[in-house]
Each structure stands twice: as structure tokens, then as C-alpha cells.
Amino acid sequence: MEKVITFTSRIAALPIANIDTDQIIPARFLKTISKAGLGDQLFFDWRYDAEGNPKPDFILNQPEGKQAQILLAGDNFGCGSSREHAPWALTQYGFRAVISTSFADIFRGNAVKNSLLPIVIPADAHKALFAALEADPAAQVTVDLAQQKLTLPDGSSVSFPIDEFARYCMLEGVDELGYILQQEAAIAAFESARPLSVNTLA
């Protein structure tokens, strides 16, 4: 797992609520058996027209979007399908964080497992950030995971919550499966304590 450190970046703003994972990566790209190439398919149907040409008004086709490592989106980002292809596509494109007022549960869990930070900020700060980007599309923010702090373009900062364990894993580069497998003794004890007659398929 890649360690997350402090970084400063421009922002791609998508002022749309309830962006679902079918928009982030359409289902027809899920026939792959690897993770390769998903960044090119990120937001495909919003990004390209029917002939496959980039739509000039879409943020990722504009200079500020191309340079951004942070996506700013509306409420309830990542709702819908559980596909982990969504954070794979976002990180392969180059995003390291998504800022919103809330995230769908499954997406949030998938994101942190791929070192993609889901940053929840209060509604007023969220609104102000959209306004700041409207005024200056090149505005930058700084993410500090250790301090759980987002420094806004005007120099002020907001703190953001993050699951304690996910934060630890991202800061230390901890492999979650390795952590689980260390608890083999507890798992084996749990299994042996359960009668076999119920809840087995054998």
C-alpha cells in the first residue's frame, strides 16, 4: 500500500451531487481481468462524445482538470455499485483525494484501500471551495493526512474526519490483508468454537 504524505494540488471541480460509480467507470469497462487502463476510462461517458472525442466543456478535458490530483464533488460521492474499479480508475488517472460533504459507504471503504483519500468537509467550507475555484480555477489546497487538515486557497484550514485505522494504514503503508492474517489464531479459535450443524454449506 502506498504511503500517503502531505501534498498540494490544484482541484478539478464537479459540482454534481450523487455521482454514482457507473458514471465514474461505466459497467462495460468491467469485463477486464486486470486493473490496467482504467484511468483512461474514468468518467468516460461524461468525458468523451459518441465518436470518442473529448468533450471540451468537461473538467478533465480542461487544463485545470488535467493537472489536478484532487477532485471536488457534490454530496454522496460514489453511490451505487460496489465496483472497486472506481477508485482504481480515479487513482490511475492521478487523483489522490476526493473532497465532498459525504461519501457512499462502500466507495469510501474501497477508496482508502487504494490510498485515495475521501475528505469530508462541512457544507459551508465545501460551498466556499467551489466559489474559490470559480474565482480562480488554478487555486490550490494542501492535504495533511497526519494532521487531518485541509488548507484552503485563502490560507484558512478545515479539519476532516477519517477512520482511524484507514489513516494508520495510509500513513504507514500497512497492508490490510497482512494485518488480518496475523490474527490467524483468533480466526481458527472462532471457527472451532462454532458448531458445524448451523451455517455451513457442507
Binding site: 450523487n18 469485463k31 453511490c79 460496489s82 465496483r83 482511524e164 485505522f165 490483508l177 472462532f190
Partner: protein
């Protein structure tokens, strides 16, 4: 294992009981390590997890608690011919190899038990009360109909469960959905869940598990309960469940993988301790009067954008919140719909009857009841896709296939089909469908396609009339 509540202990909901029964370990600063009783695996969200196992040299810890089937990317016709889509074929072939290499029971395209993962679990009796069930699929909540804690996971967690039979998980909040009263004629399980989602919005259940309760839920069959639980995720909740009762046990008894004989008796006595204790507290609650519901239909681009079928599509200018107003406006532009009038009479191009929401035998019977003696409107293309090969056989034994085909509908092989439109079954740009599936997101049923979500009754009635139709008015 279900445990008896000790005297004087805090009353618990079924959600808390199932959770407590599966906590393997809890360490400070980390989520609980939760044991998984049943892991369902399909071709789309698992390949990278199996690759991860191979890279680490790991085995599947409990192949006996794991089931594999192909549903998402397989064709629903001409199964005897090679798959035209070579990328999909590669995925399906790789999945079979993965199941074989790791010793996982595999129900492939030619198995008599093949079907949508959330249909075959209950059908075979794999899904049982009090279990934890996971799958790399957000509609895993379907299994909650049995009083199981069932939820979707990403591919990283698929790998975790394959390797350890456990995952790290934080307990969700509890959200009681109490549905009292009696449903009226023409109104069913799909309308209950679409109504809930339209009221709380698609993020309304974020961080929560629903418990569906009340007389109207008790009165539902198991298949109807699965329809309700299935769309918990469309309300933002990872899981939704219903306490088991005699309806549950009657459905389960005798299924191939259900306990038998003395084991069955012992299981039922434990399952009877699962329902929520009197005096339990929920973090959130909502009340729905079933008697006040009418058939529901969605008009927008998320499942929360739903209305009673006689109600008018809302007007964006009446909404004060600017982001909500813009979201609604954007949805209506995509759907190319006017606000202020109902959808009744709106022309449609396609009707899809299927998906893990509504592809069970009772759904097909409901649709057949409408199609019998009627014809599909010639302008409408109708696909009826059973949820499993066993449902297909059952429907054919009852002559439902003949009813569908005589009406002019297409009768297909089992799979996810046009719900997710990965396998070639899809809308063309600009087309409108009435669909019994679960998502109306932009492009969900095919790029540029427009989806109205509704019940099998509404879908079938609309197929006959060629326009969005209130089944209660069908002559």
C-alpha cells in the same frame, strides 16, 4: 451462533445480534474482525482478487463457504454458441479457472444451477438466517430477507475474505423501516422499497443497516422480501434485513443446502432467537403506511427520484436548495422530460423484466398474468430474463414461456442482462425503458438510454400499452 439474551442484558436489534455473533476479534484503534459465513463470488469483481492471492501464494481459506457463478457478463441467448464478446469470454473462462484452481464450487454458464448470484443463494438454501453474507456486489443485501447480515464489498475485501474468511468492518447504525397496513391491489414489494428511497433519498441510509418490520413486511412472501431488501443500497444502506419467521422457515425447509432432520430443528430453535428484542433502540426510524401507497415509478437518474405513478414529475423551480435543484434539472434534461405532469402515457421503447430485484418465479407469474391473452405493443421490445436456470425451468413447466412468447416478448437465459448492460443486452441512445431492475443512473442500461424503474406489473402493463401505464387501469 445466535445466543440467548442473558437476563438483564441490554435489548438488541437483530442487526446487533448477528453482528455480535460474528465478531472474531476487536482491537483498539481498528475495526472489528468479522467472520463471514457465506461468500458469493462472480466473474466481474473477483479476477483481481484471485490475482492477489496468487501473487502472495495464498489459498482460499474456506472454499466450502464460497460459491462461484457467472451472471454479469454472460449472454442471455445462444448459450451453446461461443461467446461473441471475446473480452467477456476471457473473463468467464478465467473465472472458471479461478474457481477450479482454488476449489470453489462453480455454477457456470452450462450448469442447471447457474443464475444471478443473489437469486441462487436463496434458491439453493445457501442463504440462511443469522448468517453474515458478502459478495463483491452491492445488491448482496438481497440475502437480508432471511435475517442475514448481507452486504456488498469491493475487490480488496473479496481478496481478504477469500484468504481469511474475515473482513475488517465497523458496525453500522440501525435504521428501522416500519411498514404497517395492507397493500392495495396492484401495489407490491417493489413499490414499498421505491417509496422508501424516494422519501429518504439515495444517501438517506448512508452508514446504516435497515431493518424492515411491521405488518406489511410480515405479509410479504420470501421472494417479495428479497425485492425489498435488494434495493437497500439504493437508499444508501449497505444492508437491509427482515427478521426470520415461519414464512422464512417454510421457504427454506427442504432446500438442497438447508440443514436437515435434527440439525434443522436445532437451527430453527436458534433462528427463533434472532428477532429484535422488545425495547431495542434504533438510531433512526421511519414509518410507511402501506395502504397509502400506489404503484411507484422513477422519473430521474437516481433511484431516489421516484413518484407515485399518478403523481406529477416535480418542478426544479420549486426546490430551494441550489444543488438539489441543479441535480433535478440535470436529470430531467438527460431524461428529456417535462416537469409538472405524470409519466402516464409517455411512450416507451423497451421493457426489461429481470434482475436480482425482480426475476424470481413470482415476478414472472405477475408479468405473465398481465401478458396472458394480450399482445405486446408492436413498438416495444420486451425482454423477460429469469434470475436462474431453475426459475427458467419452473416457468417453462408452468407454461409462462409460452405466454411471454405468444404475447411477443423475448424469453431469455438467466443472467443480469439489461440491468447492468455488460453483455450486449442494452438500450440504444435515447431509448426509454420501463425496467424492473434497480438502477436508473445515466447510461446504466446502455449509453444514452433512459430508465423508468417500476414493478413487474407496471412493466408488463406498459409493454402492452406501449406507454407508461397504471396497471390498475388496464382492461
Amino acid at each position: 451462533m445466535p445466543q440467548e439474551n442473558g437476563a438483564g442484558s441490554k435489548p438488541r436489534t437483530i442487526i446487533e445480534k448477528v453482528w455480535d455473533n460474528h465478531v472474531v476479534a476487536e482491537k483498539p484503534g481498528a475495526p472489528a474482525l468479522l467472520y463471514v459465513d457465506l461468500h458469493l463470488v462472480h466473474e466481474v469483481t473477483s479476477p483481481q482478487a484471485f490475482s492477489g492471492l496468487r501473487e502472495r501464494g495464498l489459498k482460499v481459506r474456506r472454499p466450502d463457504l464460497t460459491i462461484g457463478t457467472t451472471d454479469h457478463s454472460i449472454p442471455t441467448h445462444n448459450r451453446d454458441l461461443p461467446i461473441v464478446d471475446k473480452i467477456a469470454e476471457t473473463q468467464i473462462v478465467q473465472f472458471e479457472k479461478n474457481c477450479n484452481d482454488f476449489g470453489i464450487p462453480f455454477y457456470g454458464p452450462h450448469s442447471a444451477k447457474q443464475g444471478i448470484v443473489h437469486v441462487i443463494g436463496p434458491e439453493q438454501g445457501f442463504t440462511q438466517p443469522g448468517m453474515t453474507v458478502v459478495c463483491g456486489d452491492s445488491h448482496t443485501a438481497t440475502h437480508g430477507a432471511f435475517g442475514a447480515l448481507a452486504f456488498g464489498i469491493g475487490t480488496s475485501q473479496v481478496e481478504h475474505v477469500l484468504a481469511s474468511q474475515c473482513l475488517l468492518q465497523t458496525a453500522s447504525k440501525t435504521f428501522e423501516v416500519r411498514v404497517e397496513g395492507t397493500l392495495r391491489e396492484g401495489v407490491g414489494a417493489k413499490d414499498i422499497i421505491l417509496n422508501l428511497i424516494s422519501r429518504i433519498g439515495i444517501g438517506g441510509g448512508n452508514g446504516c443497516v435497515f431493518e424492515f418490520a411491521g405488518a406489511a413486511i410480515r405479509a410479504l412472501s420470501m421472494e417479495e422480501r428479497m425485492t425489498v431488501c435488494n434495493m437497500s443500497i439504493e437508499g444508501g444502506a449497505r444492508a437491509g434485513l427482515i427478521a426470520p419467521d415461519d414464512t422464512t422457515y417454510q421457504y427454506l425447509a427442504g432446500r438442497p443446502y438447508a440443514p436437515k432432520g435434527e440439525a434443522w430443528e436445532r437451527a430453527v430453535s436458534l433462528w427463533r432467537k434472532l428477532p429484535t428484542d422488545a425495547g431495542s433502540k434504533y438510531d433512526k426510524s421511519i414509518y410507511i403506511d402501506a395502504g397509502a401507497l400506489e404503484p411507484m415509478i422513477t422519473f430521474g437518474t437516481n433511484p431516489g427520484m421516484g413518484i407515485g405513478i399518478t403523481s406529477a414529475v416535480p418542478d426544479p423551480s420549486s426546490i430551494s436548495d441550489p444543488v438539489e435543484r441543479e441535480s433535478l434539472d440535470k436529470a430531467l434534461r438527460y431524461m428529456d422530460l417535462p416537469s409538472g405532469k405524470s409519466l402516464l402515457g409517455h411512450p416507451i421503447d423497451v421493457v426489461f423484466i429481470g434482475s436480482c430485484t425482480n426475476s424470481r418465479i413470482s415476478d414472472l407469474r405477475a408479468a405473465a398474468q398481465i401478458f396472458k391473452g394480450r399482445k405486446v405493443n408492436p413498438k416495444v421490445r420486451v425482454m423477460v430474463v429469469p434470475g436462474s436456470q431453475q426459475i427458467k425451468q419452473q416457468a417453462q413447466a408452468e407454461g409462462l414461456d409460452t405466454i411471454f412468447m405468444e404475447a411477443g416478448a423475448d424469453w431469455r437465459e438467466a443472467g443480469c442482462s439489461m440491468c447492468i448492460a455488460m453483455n450486449g443486452d442494452q438500450l440504444r441512445p435515447g431509448e426509454y425503458s420501463v425496467s424492473t431492475s434497480n438502477r436508473n443512473f445515466e447510461g446504466r442500461q446502455g449509453k444514452g438510454g433512459r430508465t423508468f424503474l417500476a414493478s413487474p406489473l407496471t412493466a408488463a402493463a406498459s409493454a402492452v400499452m406501449g406507454v407508461v401505464t397504471d396497471v390498475r387501469t388496464l382492461r
